[in-house]
Amino acid sequence: MMGLDWSILDWGEIGLASWDTLRMMGWSLLFTVVFGLPLGVLLFLTSRRQLLQNNWLNRALSFIANVLRSLPFLILLVVMIPLTAWLVGTSLGVEGAIPPLVVGATPFFARLVENALREVDRGVIEAVQSLGATRWQIVWKVLLPEARPGLLAALTVTAITLVSYTAMSGVIGGGGLGDLAIRYGYQRFQTEVMIVTVVILIVLVQLLQMLGDWLVARVSKK
């Protein structure tokens, strides 16, 4: 490669940025599951012919999820700055990136959860109903365990989406690899930094996908 000077790379800073990306992804994934899983279960249960069928609630939840999903993440980042500042005290750095990441990923994950639950055999739910199970028991003992492979696949896709979102949050000074790529690779024309961050992101996504596939295979008993 002509004209590239790898000695300008500050590996300490790259390491720190990678760690920031992992932290952003980890924390936002955690909160995305905390909010998205119940939302997905509720979306499923309130839909037609399901245990808590409620057209009004279902439409309302669906509408909110769609609105949030139709906003480009970049816009969401900017729109949320006041809310983020109020929530975590800053709209910068790793902390500042987490709220918009969670808000961006939660409706996405909830939809994936809803789809995974739809894959559960209706007959199985009916069989457990015939055994006198409560709705709560059906969710905990049937729906979630039976959908486990689908839920783990949803988690994998969401984690990978979050990695790409974290890179975007670099635009508003969110920290992490995206921030590094924009500040050095783009604004200072340091192509070397751009290449390294891209390679790290690719490796990270590959690792996440492999881990996800392995987990899905492990829990799948079909």
Binding site: D121, G123, V124, E126, A127, V128, Q129, S130, L131, G132, A133, T134, Q137, K141, V142, P145, E146, R148, V219, K221, K222
Partner: protein, 337 residues
């Protein structure tokens, strides 16, 4: 055990109302194996699902064990369902749970006893259905018959008084069907359990049911002891289902009836008569000769029966005497020609 009074149910499909059940009334005494047979779409599935209120009737009463279940609160309904086991055509096992965990599920749902007590009950049930060796396998590793055994064990876990079988053998091959039916018959005797089963196969009814209701177009068109309904079907819906099993329609197709020169009778007999040499006796005593056009000798549950189509050659008065002689031996004679 079960009393159904005037059940009505109409489904709304694409804005049109489709009647599923129309004025269904019947009684099933405790300990009986009661069969409901009908073609697909006849309403039998809707009917059996009403017995544990997976489907609610539009009107009518469902009384189980003296209790009108249509008026139960949600909690009381769950309690009732725990007393009613159900077995499904497609088994409906949890794929994420092992055999033992599937059977333990109903016990977990009502938090019955300690984990050790639950496991002891699970082992007992797996022993009963002959799956003790497979307790830690997952359903995907089992054959259809084995899966249905798990389904039966699960249905029995809470010691129900009533077992509902929704086309329990329809997804199984004939041999496996036989072994599952034997198991259900066994359970009925051993545990003194009332069994209600629905099927579209007369063979299933013949093997294990005591009484049968024939349902057609949402109505019960015929009901009675299996031997009666099976051997002397009155309604065309019943006749066509019985014909499938007894190959009666083949006789018409074969042209044997038309080419017969003598008198053709269908003889039907049940119980001890089955073991008697009635054809030989009749021919010998009245000086007739005969040829056999078609015949079935089999069992209705534990009752041996036979149905023979016989062509007789002989004088008219001797034929008349033979007919009386056969009737005196409890053989039902139908003159086909």
């Amino acid at each position: 055990m079960i009393r159904l009074e005037n059940l009505e149910k109409t489904f709304i499909v694409d804005g049109r109302s489709v009647p599923a059940l129309r004025g269904i009334s019947l009684d099933v005494p405790a300990g009986e194996v009661f069969g409901i047979i009908g073609r697909s779409g006849a309403g039998k599935s809707t009917l059996i699902r009403m017995l544990n209120l997976l489907e609610r009737p539009d009107s009518g009463r469902i009384v189980i064990d003296g209790q009108d279940v249509t008026s139960l609160s949600e909690t009381a309904l769950r309690g009732m369902r725990q007393q009613v086991g159900m077995v499904f055509q497609h088994f409906n096992l949890l794929s994420s749970r092992t055999v033992a965990e599937n059977v333990r599920l109903p016990l977990e749902l009502i938090r019955s006893g300690s984990r050790a007590e639950q496991n002891a009950r699970v082992d007992e049930l797996l022993e009963l259905v002959g799956l003790a060796a497979h307790r830690d396998k997952y359903p995907s590793q089992l054959s259809g018959g084995q899966k249905q055994r798990v389904g039966i064990a699960r249905a029995l876990a809470n010691r129900p008084k009533l077992l509902l079988c929704d086309e329990a053998t329809s997804a199984l091959d004939p041999q496996t069907t036989q072994s599952i039916l034997d198991l259900i018959a066994d359970i009925n005797k051993q545990l003194k359990l009332t069994v209600v089963l629905i099927t579209h196969e007369m063979g299933v009814i013949r093997r294990i049911a005591d009484r049968v209701a024939v349902i057609d177009g949402g109505r019960i068109v015929e009901i009675g002891p299996v031997a009666e309904v099976f051997l002397h079907p009155q309604q065309s819906a019943t006749q066509s289902m019985v014909a499938e099993l007894s190959h009666a329609d083949e006789l018409e197709d074969s042209g044997l009836l038309d080419s017969a020169s003598g008198a053709v009778w269908r003889l039907t007999f049940v119980g001890a008569t089955t073991h008697e040499p009635i054809l030989f006796d009749t021919a010998h005593r009245y000086g007739l000769s005969f040829s056999l056009l078609q015949g079935t000798v089999s069992r209705l549950k534990d009752l041996p029966y036979g149905q023979l189509v016989v062509e007789w050659q002989g004088e008219t008065d001797k034929l008349a005497a033979a007919r009386e002689g056969l009737a005196a031996r409890n053989v039902v004679v139908e003159v086909l020609r």
